[in-house]
Structure formats: structure tokens, C-alpha cells
């Protein structure tokens, strides 16, 4: 198992409603989630806004520390591992962020953005690794000298992918990475991701609000609603025969580009 997650809970303090005395009330974002991510699987995590899907992703990478439950990564309990001990395993799980304008440091060149994490983990031969990563995501090598703001949205997202795969991680979390893209670049990025998963033997968690994209890419799907797992299963089975009312409602609400779909 890549990930074994049991009864995962996470809450944030709600400072805006802090009373004069006494503890700050907390907002429960994740309310006890349990699921496994087997190695080599592409897991889709889907839900509406406020479902907790992005928080779940960030907790899995330990960008956030859970308030309850356990997260085991490849057998190792990382739920409360302090950051300095976590650093040794960080290379093994990576993340691709939703908004590349925010996740790519605007004052560094693409080459430095990709090679930074490599250098940190003591890798050598940075130049050829950067080139290789750029090749893999289908960007010309001379893009290494450009700044993020000189690229298009789709290109930026490829840089984000290149940075993640250059470290040769075992697991990647992709958080809403195509939601800001047009359909044509979206299709390209999705195809690229699928290729990389196959070629590099990656395990991938793909967070998205878009069921059509999940259907396209994922082996298994997890439906999240108000911080709880509503439904989980093999993607084909889940889409063909959704078991819960929420999933059914979600599927029925999607407008397909097909005038004959019974929708109203």
C-alpha cells in the first residue's frame, strides 16, 4: 500500500468567532476519513467546493498536520512526524499545484525552479536531469532560461509537472491541475499525466471537482462531501452504478455536450 489512511480528522481554529475567554471554536474540515491508496493506482478525489478535497490532499503530503487519525505512507506512520524527520521522505511524495502562477516562484527561471529540489536532495548532474524532465513534459529545453510569467497557462502547468517528476517520486498528488486550463490544453495535460504514470510507474492522487476528468484518468474514485467519504470504488463501477444519492445527483447535474442527454 502507498497510503493507508485511518479515521483522518483535521480542523482549523475559527478566529472570527473566538469568545472573550475560553478555547477558540474549530471548524471540522475532515471528519474521519479512512481509505487506502494501493501502489500504481490512479485515485480520483472528487467533491464540490467546501468538501475538504484540497485539505485532504495537503494533509496527505503533510503540508498540514492532522488533528486525529493516522496517515501511513508506504508502511511508515507520518501523521505527526516533525518536519525535520519528514524531509528524508519528502522526495518520495510530490505535489502539483492548482495555480502555477502562485506555485512557481515568479523571480526564478524555469531551470532553477526544476533543479532547486534536485539540489536539495543531493542529486548531481542537474542540467541533464532538468533537460530530461523538460523532455518528458514536452517542453523545449531552452525553456529552462525563461521566467514563469513568460509562459502560457498550459506550459506553466507542465513546468509544475516537470518539477514534481524530476525528483522521481513514488507518489504524486495533483490538486485541480487542469481546472484553470482550456479544453485543448486540458486534454494535452491529462494525456501527458497518463503517459507519465504509465512510464514512471507512479501512484497518483488526482483531486478535481470535474467528474468527467476523473472518469477519463482514474482507476479508483473517492467522492467527498462535507469532509466525509460519500462513496468509494473502482471508477467504472462507481460511474455506471452510483450507490449514494449524492453521487447520483452529482452525475445527473453534469451537462454533457450532447443535446440528447436527459438533463432537465
Amino acid at each position: 500500500m502507498m497510503y493507508e489512511i485511518r479515521d483522518l480528522k483535521l480542523s482549523f481554529p475559527d478566529i472570527s468567532r473566538k469568545p472573550l475567554l475560553g478555547p477558540v471554536p474549530r471548524i471540522e474540515v475532515l471528519k474521519g476519513l479512512s481509505f487506502d491508496v494501493p501502489k500504481g493506482v490512479v485515485l480520483g478525489i472528487v467533491g464540490g467546493s467546501g468538501s475538504g478535497k484540497s485539505t485532504l490532499g495537503r494533509a496527505m503530503l503533510r503540508l498540514l498536520e492532522p488533528t486525529g487519525g493516522t496517515i501511513r505512507f508506504d508502511g511508515q506512520d507520518i501523521t505527526h512526524t516533525p518536519e525535520e524527520h519528514l524531509r528524508a521522505v519528502r522526495q518520495r511524495f510530490q505535489m502539483i499545484f492548482q495555480d502555477p502562477m502562485s506555485s512557481l516562484n515568479p523571480r526564478r527561471r524555469v531551470g532553477a525552479i526544476i533543479s532547486g529540489p534536485l539540489r536539495l536532495h543531493g542529486m548531481t548532474d542537474l542540467r541533464s536531469r532538468v533537460n530530461e524532465a523538460l523532455d518528458m513534459v514536452g517542453l523545449p529545453r531552452n525553456f529552462a532560461t525563461r521566467y514563469p510569467h513568460e509562459l502560457s497557462g498550459g506550459q506553466r502547468q507542465r513546468v509544475g509537472i516537470a518539477r514534481a517528476i524530476a525528483l522521481r517520486p513514488e507518489f504524486i498528488l495533483a490538486d485541480e491541475i487542469v481546472s484553470g486550463l482550456d479544453v485543448s490544453s486540458q486534454a494535452q495535460v491529462l494525456n501527458l499525466l497518463e503517459e507519465l504514470v504509465r512510464d514512471l510507474g507512479l501512484t497518483l492522487a488526482f483531486v478535481s471537482h470535474d467528474l468527467s476528468v476523473i472518469r477519463r484518468l482514474c482507476d479508483r474514485t473517492l467522492v467527498l462531501h462535507h469532509g466525509m467519504i460519500v462513496e468509494e470504488g473502482a471508477t467504472a463501477a462507481l460511474f455506471d452504478a452510483p450507490q449514494t444519492a449524492y453521487t447520483q445527483e452529482l452525475l445527473a447535474a453534469i451537462p454533457l455536450p450532447d443535446p440528447d442527454q436527459p438533463w432537465r
Binding site: S184, S185, S212, A253, P255, L256, P257
Partner: protein, 289 residues
């Protein structure tokens, strides 16, 4: 059929000279819904902005005519044009969170323009607002009228914006990506509501969206834009069953749908993009001659 909006050969460019819209023509009749489809930067929102007179200052109309309910907007002086647009057209904006003035109560945001621009009595305007809020299925309109925007949910605010758009019985509604910021389940309710209101009031509706799925549920006819040029104009059913332009066809193929099995997604091929680019350039050559 009575045409409420007619755009003839509209050309729009940056003040620096770069074309944004290239000889766009379209026609929306009473009770009709016309979709404007295209990727970001194709200029689909700019058509709506040109009609409503809210273009960014860096853009200018270089040629073409816009007729609204039989009136040529270009022929009117600025102040009168603004009033005509205010009386005959309305906008349903994209983001309900920023489309209501946070420092004003909901009531005045619906009624003020009826009083200020159209010269209604205040009491008439208020009665009208309550009636409209009923129409968009808002419970307890009197209370909502007294609320501030931040006290209401996103879906609720979008309903208010729809109500407000229909307040002056406009001939034309322009909806600019009205559901892009919403969850799918809310999106479905809002799209239904827009359709319901549009049919009840028999207005023309110009629907701007990047989502082909939404188009297939809302529009009667549509124009596909690429680089500011209409590359295909079609009735809705025909477009989805037999798209004529290769770019339209490629766009349909690139759109993921959960009903299709895995592996059927094809990005728009470079050859199609090149051919479409060539078409745009040829148009520019002809136009400059």
C-alpha cells in the same frame, strides 16, 4: 422574426492595433438563446462588452454596427446610448461574489436604477423587486431586500443578479459565464432558472461560455470563435451532431465526458490549429485590402 440584437461586421482592436474581434456578425431574436463559444482569449466576452459599452479602455471598435431592438447604438450620443442600453439590455455576470456592491443593501441594488434611469416611482420599483425575487424562487423577499450581500450564499446572490437583470423588462440579456464559479449541482439550478426567466419574459439571450456541455443544455444557436473570428455558426443540434469546421469538431473531441470510455480524449491537433490560424490570416489580408 423580430431581431432584438444584431451585430454587423464588428471589428475590435487594441489601441496598439492588434485585432481582438474580426468582422463578427450575429443575430439574436426574441425568445432565442444564442451561445458564444471559444477558448480563453477567443474574444467571446468582448462581444457582450461591446454591446453593453463596457469595453476595457485599451480596446476600441474600429468598424461595424450594433443594433439593439431596432436602434443603431453607434448613431446615438454617449449619454443617450448609455440610457438605451440600460433600458433595453442587461447583464448576468460571472462571479456572484463580486457582482453585488458589498456596502449596499440588496433592495436598492435592484430598485435604484429603475428610479434613477427609468424614472419609476420608488414604491413601484420596490413592489417590482419583490415580485422578481418571488419569480427567482427566493423565500422571504422582504427580508432579503434588507440584507447585505455578505449575508447571503453564492447561489442566492446569483438568483438576485438574475432577478435584477430582468427588472426593467429588457429585450436582451447577456449572460457572461454565469455559472463558471458555481458547483455543478448549483449550476444546474441556475441554468434552469435563467431558461425559465428567459422564456417567461420572452427576451433574447446571448450566452457566453467556454463549456460545450452548458451550450448543449441552454442554446438554440451558437457561434464558435477563434482568435476573434466566428469560424462556425450553427443551430445547436446540428453543431453537436455534425460540426462543419474542423476546429469545432476537434474541440468537441477534446472535451472529456464521463459517459465516454477511457482513452477517447484527443487534444486539438496542431494541423487543425495551423489551418484555422491560416484562415484568420487570410481574413486579415482580405480586410486590409
Amino acid at each position: 422574426m423580430n431581431s432584438f440584437l444584431e451585430v454587423r461586421n464588428l471589428n475590435l482592436s487594441l489601441k496598439a492595433g492588434m485585432p481582438i474581434l474580426r468582422s463578427v456578425s450575429l443575430n439574436v431574436a426574441a425568445g432565442q438563446v444564442h451561445g458564444l463559444v471559444g477558448e480563453s482569449g477567443a474574444g467571446k466576452s468582448m462581444i457582450g462588452k461591446a454591446v453593453l459599452g463596457t469595453l476595457p479602455r485599451a480596446l476600441q471598435v474600429t468598424s461595424g454596427e450594433i443594433w439593439l431592438d431596432g436602434v443603431n447604438l453607434n448613431s446615438l450620443p454617449t449619454a443617450e446610448r448609455r440610457k438605451t442600453i440600460g433600458a433595453k439590455a442587461a447583464l448576468i455576470p460571472q462571479d456572484p461574489l463580486t457582482a453585488l456592491n458589498p456596502s449596499k443593501r440588496i433592495g436598492p441594488q435592484i430598485t435604484r436604477r429603475l428610479v434613477d434611469i427609468l424614472g419609476w416611482q420608488k414604491s413601484d420599483a420596490e413592489a417590482r423587486a419583490v415580485e422578481l425575487l418571488h419569480e427567482v424562487h427566493i423565500p422571504d423577499p422582504a427580508r432579503v431586500m434588507k440584507s447585505y450581500p455578505h449575508e447571503l450564499s453564492g447561489g442566492m446572490r446569483q438568483r438576485i443578479l438574475i432577478a435584477s437583470a430582468f427588472a426593467a423588462e429588457p429585450k436582451l440579456i447577456i449572460a457572461d459565464e454565469p455559472t463558471t464559479a458555481l458547483d455543478v449541482t448549483v449550476q444546474k439550478q441556475i441554468l434552469r432558472l435563467i431558461a425559465e426567466m428567459q422564456q417567461r419574459h420572452d427576451t433574447a439571450l446571448l450566452f457566453v461560455t467556454h463549456d460545450l456541455g452548458v451550450v448543449s443544455k441552454t442554446c438554440d444557436t451558437l457561434s464558435v470563435l477563434y482568435a476573434g473570428k466566428v469560424i462556425e455558426e450553427a443551430r445547436m443540434r446540428r453543431f453537436f451532431t455534425r460540426p462543419i469546421h474542423p476546429y469545432s469538431a476537434a474541440l468537441l473531441k477534446a472535451t472529456p465526458t464521463y459517459t465516454n470510455p477511457r482513452g477517447s480524449l484527443t487534444p486539438v491537433p496542431q494541423s487543425v490549429i495551423d489551418a484555422t490560424e491560416r484562415e484568420v490570416r487570410e481574413h486579415d489580408m482580405r480586410a486590409s485590402r
